[in-house]
Amino acid sequence: MEDLALYAIDVATSAGATYADARAIEQQYQDLGTKDQTVSTLDLGSTEGIGIRVLVDGGWGFASTQTLTKKAIAAAARRAVEVGRASASVLSHPIQLAPEPAFNAVWMSPHTMDPFAVSLETKISLLLRVNEIIRSVKGTTLAQSHMTFIKEKKHFVSSEGTRIVQTFIRSSCGMEAFATNENDRQKRSYPNSFGGQNELAGWEMVLKWNLPAHAQRIGEEAVALLTAPACPVDITNVILGGSQLGLQIHESMGHPSELDRALGEELNFAGASFLTPDKLNRLWYGSSIVNLVADATAPGALGSFGFDDEGVQAQRVYLVKNGLFTGYLSSRETAPLIGLPRSGGMMRAESWNCQPIIRMTNISLQPGNAGSLEDLIADTDYGILMDTNKSWSIDQLRFNFQFSTEAGWEIKNGKLGRLLKNCSYGGITPFFWNSCDAICGPEDYVEWGVPNCGKGQPCQMMWTGHGASPARFCNVQTGIAHAV
């Protein structure tokens, strides 16, 4: 594959490209799902191809092919140059790339058990078993469970001399219990909603999250939610569980920090950002305990890699330090536009047939000193603990957000009280993060994975990570989603 990628570079530069890179990717995947005692999703597949990106007269061109012959690759490389030439005819400024050393490297994501070495029989029978446990709870009306496994080998070469080979193994598992009556539909998920937990890891993560041990509990909670009191419309303290906080970080800190958004390049679909460059090193994004890093080096976290899809080495950089907005997610093209000497290494593409764009790596809130979740609850006089995302929405500049969670629990005098249904909270991003007054410690820190971050046109999905310990926010508006 690397020889073919190098050939693509040669053809592109001979045809007039001043810069060219090529990604040759082989990917194998398994997508498994069950509903009660039926297999509802079973897609086992593979994909391979080469994507060629070129700069011609200062304009980008991109073309791809799955036909791995020299003839087809040469045709794709020439098509990329032709498309790049068309770009050059409508430029606001010629594209300049920040300098980056040439690397020659091999990288593999950490894992102990290759999930593709585990039989389908083992995987499906585990999913059916957890569904059986969920449905043994009286009042449940549906059980669903899922697993996804992806193995990807990616060659990256560039006309600047970089040669990189990376191998990724990603795994996910999760389950949902549903309870329905005439007037209500409720759901509980584990370890997270919308497919479960996702990690850059192997089969060992499925064993670690131990779905059968939690199946009965989520079944019971789903049924209990049908008769639970509703979340009050109130302004109160809210403790967010780790997985919900992970998505809060993703939407209200990760996306606004993307420099392409801040510069208006995603204005037409994903949106822009309230974090315009004049706010860098000036805006107090959060309270003084809020420290946010973009860390592509975190072992096992879903957004980690050795090198991004421009061949830039993985980095760990602060986006918010002691509450101050200090950094962006950047690329070789955007970094020079705000005077940065080097890309932050955040460019990735969903597949060989997509052009890379700026993506979150692992955007993680650093643990605080509030101890465990139990310690934090004990330290809270009143409020609501909310956990496991149910719905999420935020405006296109990333100010006004509203989230709902599957479940909540009253907190009174340092103790958990009644289960609450239809929990929701909302706010304005910088006010919300400035109201953060406690973050749990490393003992409850988890690298949560989001496998389906949508951005770009055509829309590309990307896997991102969000490390978080539970945290407390003061004076938060709750319950407004159902107050219609």
Binding site: Q37, S46, N400
Partner: protein, 456 residues
């Protein structure tokens, strides 16, 4: 783009190999796409992509079990390997008690086709897209605005065949333009934006100058947006806003959502749940629709009346959910096995006679919404959805647009909304960002619930 003969050849390799390996049944689906997308922002081209992909997916049935495998290795050897692996994979699975044998071909007289392939669109070049984008940028620059968006053109193919002799092929072209224009007020430095989008199988349907003008007008008209209090308002929803709200009900009209007891219309079929002026169908044959006339198992799609004058009428079914609910499949099945089961891909909402201008004229006080954004379901039973307004939100007073206003968050039950529609425009082909393009009208709705505002 792959021809009917080439697709048939790939499917034939899979089917013959499956039969040779003694599969009880084998189905193959070929999909292909070469849609190119030119992106622009800040009045210049930012990305320009020309991808191509052909994939084959096979489903084998053996001993009451089935497995699906997919690849884009479309050589004969690659396809035979895929089929062999599918048969091996199926052997590891539990028996699927609800599995149905593969469908037989329908009579030729029942097989309707649709012509949605346009040679000019298929051959549209990067240079032609760049020329169109220059037109858009010129409009922006002349009016002191900043333009961003896309122009996409290309072709797509879907073909399906099985060991029962079924074979269907559909090719279609795709053209889409979407434009956002931004104005920065020179005094207040406040931004205002306008948006327009159009999507069709034919590039000649795209009126680029009109779309550029429309997005520019909205950006200019919403300059220096004013504060407004949240609350209940009469709203005028332009067609894109209607589409991106109503698409959150698509799942509720599927047989599988009834089997799983998740539909908001569970136990409500045959009852009047929505306003008398609401009629919704799924109709792939509508002249403004796009898409293939057959489903994920190769069955002919049927026109299905989902809502008739407010009454929940019919559902769409794949073969599996139809069997569970003792109904007839409607040709809306997704490729088996599937968690969702089926989907209404071709929604048509019947329109009325009022234009948006007439709706504005008849409004004492209300809000005009150009589009909605980041819509998500909050409550599956009452069908409350939340989301934001975007790219052109206006206060209407005394029958005229008074001013642009800052964007608002809504939490609104769709069932309640469709009981408070007081005017409908003629339905038109509409593209949004949440749901598939559909044929929908603009709507004037009373008591629409806004719960908060944002800073711009």
């Amino acid at each position: 783009m792959i021809s009917e003969e080439q697709a048939a050849e790939l499917i034939d390799i899979a089917v013959k190999h499956g039969v040779r390996k003694k599969a009880d049944g084998i189905e193959a689906i070929v999909t292909a796409s070469n849609v190119s997308t030119s992106r622009f922002a800040n009045n210049g081209m930012t990305q320009n992509q020309s991808p191509e992909q052909i994939s084959i997916s096979v489903r084998v049935q053996k001993d009451g079990k089935q497995a699906r495998l997919s690849t884009d290795r479309i050589s004969a050897a690659g396809i035979r390997e895929l089929v062999g692996n599918a048969i091996t994979s199926a052997s590891f699975l539990e028996k699927d008690e609800d599995m149905l044998p593969l469908p037989k071909p329908e009579k030729k007289t029942q097989q309707k086709s649709v012509n949605r392939y346009d040679t000019r669109t298929a051959n549209f070049t990067a240079e032609q897209r760049a020329k169109a984008i220059k037109t858009i940028v010129n409009v922006a620059e002349k009016r002191g605005l900043i333009a961003a968006g896309i122009f996409a053109t290309g072709s797509e193919v879907e073909a399906i065949g099985n060991s029962e002799g079924l074979f269907r092929y559909h090719r279609e072209t795709h053209a889409e333009v979407s434009i956002t224009m931004k104005r920065i007020d020179p005094d207040t430095r406040t931004d205002s934006t306008g948006w327009a989008k159009q999507n069709s199988p034919r590039v000649s349907d795209l009126d680029v100058p009109a779309l550029a003008a429309r997005s520019a007008e909205k950006a200019l008209a919403s300059a220096n947006p004013q504060d407004i209090q949240p609350g209940k308002y009469t709203v005028i929803l332009e067609p894109s806003a209607v589409l991106d709200l109503l698409c959150f009900m698509d799942f509720d009209f599927t047989g599988t959502s009834f089997v799983d007891k998740l539909s908001c219309f569970l136990h409500k079929q045959g009852k009047k749940m929505l306003g008398k002026n609401i009629t919704i169908s799924d109709d792939v044959y509508h002249p403004l629709q796009a898409g293939a006339p057959f489903d994920g198992e190769g069955l002919q799609r049927q026109m299905v009346e989902l809502v008739s004058n407010g009454k929940i009428d019919n559902l769409v079914y794949g073969r599996r959910s139809a069997a569970r609910l003792k109904a007839k499949p409607t040709g809306h099945g997704l490729a088996e096995p599937s968690a969702e089961g089926e989907w209404p891909h071709n929604v048509v909402v019947s329109g009325g006679k009022d234009s948006v201008e007439q709706m504005i004229k008849s409004t004492k006080r209300g809000i005009l919404l150009s589009r909605v954004w980041y819509v998500r379901e909050v409550d599956p039973t009452t069908k409350i959805v939340t989301g934001m307004t975007r790219d052109g939100t206006f206060l209407v007073e005394d029958g005229a647009i008074k001013t642009g206003i800052k964007n608002l968050r809504f939490n609104q039950s769709l069932i309640e909304m469709l009981n408070h529609v007081v005017a409908l425009s003629p339905a038109e082909r509409t593209a949004g960002e949440e749901g598939e393009p559909a044929v929908v009208p603009a709507m004037k709705v009373e008591n629409f619930n806004f719960s908060s505002t944002t800073a711009f």
